[in-house]
Amino acid sequence: MKPDERSMARLTAMAQTGDRDAYRTLLVECRRWLGAYFAGKVPPQFRDDLIQDTLLSLHRKLATYDSKRAFLPWLAAIARYRWVDQLRSLYRKSETVLDDSHAAWSDEPAIAARISLERLLSRLPTGQAEVIALVKIEGLSISEAAAASGQSESLVKVNIHRGLRRLAASIESE
């Protein structure tokens, strides 16, 4: 039987007392819920890592669950935090530019990743989305992106910084 919100809350309260059987059931159900939660948001090749990161965070922060409150908003907050964290690290590091580090991917996940990222970028003003795509996804240098977009180099930097901050904030406020 698929546990509902109330039984997941009860399982978590039991896990807080050290009940391992309840904890195992809880984690299995959380994995299933997280798979569905991330399905429309995260490219498939990042999803398992994100689910595992979220389960680890749930384990470390088990004490922060308040059994008087609903369970799923708590789990969703942890999942969202890990997702934003992954997005930040994905964008922050030049070695994680999609075209370089994931050259070995098959076309299908690469396209799926691209679609997911473009869906995220559609939340931003055009100027910000354009330079983020050029620099962080296409891998252009700041000067190349400035030439391609018609923006000055300093504006490209500002737009990348503001765009990434806005992206993280828009996810956090969902």
Partner: protein, 217 residues
């Protein structure tokens, strides 16, 4: 539908094996930590800098009482916000402190308005010269609350470290300057509105810059 990943199965077994009973983070305990830090700040302020004469005579001016009460109120609201943010929850509204902060903004506004026609003499008065000392003392006395709330949040899981850091700074600045107000000899609106509020702003800036990296999890 995501297929279960074998590594995730192994991870779940590892996590189950490592499970230890935990004491749920309680809002009441969080507020007790904040209240204790305020009490210790008061004791430290009185011990180190003494009690102002009008308080010992129970004759404090209304401006002083209103201003210090406002600092305490905003400090309590910001502390509560910090404690609540330690427990993650989608849909939680943490914007209530802004109204209290807006209320407190009346103090510097009143200070500016009341000094419009006399700002030269007002800012050359002894009260203004002591102002920088109040900012520093308020910030220093706020460090106790600052440390206590940061420690509490590290036990928790704040999902917006920047906001949590800012709130930590606001709470510690308010409690710090409320503590030092027990000793500060000035009661005029210009001194309190500019310099005492300045201590809150200094701590808020400190919290926004220093705390977020300490809260990442």
């Amino acid at each position: 539908m995501t297929m279960p990943h074998p590594n995730t199965d192994m991870l779940i077994e590892e996590l189950v094996g490592g499970l230890q009973p935990v004491r749920p983070l309680s809002t009441t305990r969080g507020m007790v930590v904040a209240a204790a830090s305020l009490a210790i700040t008061f004791v430290a302020a009185i011990t180190l800098t003494g009690l102002r004469w009008d308080l010992s005579m129970l004759a404090a001016s209304p401006v002083y009482v209103i201003a210090t009460g406002s600092f305490l109120l905003l400090g309590a609201i910001a502390s509560f916000s910090v404690v609540m943010q330690s427990k993650p929850r989608v849909g939680a509204d943490h914007s209530g402190w802004r109204w209290a902060a807006l209320m407190l903004a009346i103090l510097p506004f009143a200070a500016i308005v009341s000094s419009l026609d006399s700002w030269r003499s007002d800012f050359a008065s002894p009260s203004a010269f002591d102002g920088l000392g109040c900012v520093m003392a308020g910030t220093l006395f706020g460090l106790l609350t600052f440390s206590a709330l940061t420690w509490w949040q590290r036990k928790g899981a704040p999902t917006n470290p920047e906001r949590a850091g800012l709130m930590t700074g606001v709470a510690s600045g308010c409690f710090g300057i409320a503590g030092f107000s027990l000793s500060c000899v000035h009661s005029d609106i210009i001194h309190i509105g500019i310099w005492h509020t300045g201590a809150v702003l200094a701590c808020a800036l400190l919290g926004r810059l220093v705390v977020p990296p300490l809260l990442r999890w």
